[in-house]
Subunit: 125 residues, 2 copies
């Protein structure tokens, strides 16, 4: 059983450092990446590395807030900063017996206005 926590930690460290060869080695050749919010999908290691390199051409940085791993599954919460704006990103990972990532489901939660209907039930921060 791979150490899925370590695999995901190395994945984010490689991305932040733009060590794309190391990043590529951490994902399986037939990796599937999905963005359920926009219903975009990328198939395969080469296409996925290209998506990361060419899809985000500007300056960006990420900080890992949390990684949680259990067996062949993992989840991460990062803070991603680009063009002076920071936002959370949440991923769920499937990892194979060789310690390679075979599936990534990626969520980007955007800010929204607090609903007035529940203002009496919450505080703001």
């Amino acid at each position: 059983m791979p150490n899925s926590h370590e695999v995901v930690a190395r994945y984010w460290a490689a991305a932040e450092a733009r060590r794309w060869d190391e990043f590529a080695a951490l994902v399986a050749e037939d990796v599937v990446y999905e963005l359920p919010q926009s219903r975009e999908r990328v198939h395969g290691r080469d296409a996925y590395v290209r998506f990361n390199v060419e899809g985000f051409p500007g300056e960006w940085h990420l900080v890992v807030e949390r990684i949680v791993a259990e067996g062949s599954h993992a989840a991460s919460w990062i803070e991603f900063t680009a063009e002076g704006r920071s936002q959370p990103g949440v991923c769920f990972f499937d990892i194979n017996d060789e310690g390679q990532i075979v599936k990534i489901t990626d969520f980007w939660p955007d800010p929204y206005d607090a609903p007035p209907t529940r203002a009496h039930l919450v505080e703001r921060y």
Copy 2:
């Protein structure tokens, strides 16, 4: 060490079944619940149960897509359906030595349009 995976599974089962006494017993008396997207926060078990009961008055259902747990941390991905609309919800949990949830960070990723700038790098589904 509590079985954090089981704690979160019971938390969602209790919510779906509206077993609010069981739900309340799974969170610590000083639980903190945060929604980073709207910067809303709820402090304490009683307020948090009230938030769940009164904050979502209509019909709703949830299905657990994934739970990942590691030590005192867990993450979940659910599909939440209300008023005919389904959307993912992602939570990160902190769990204390007594197996009670002490912190919940809750994300609700909304649909967004696929950016045309990366249309050549993805397929749609």
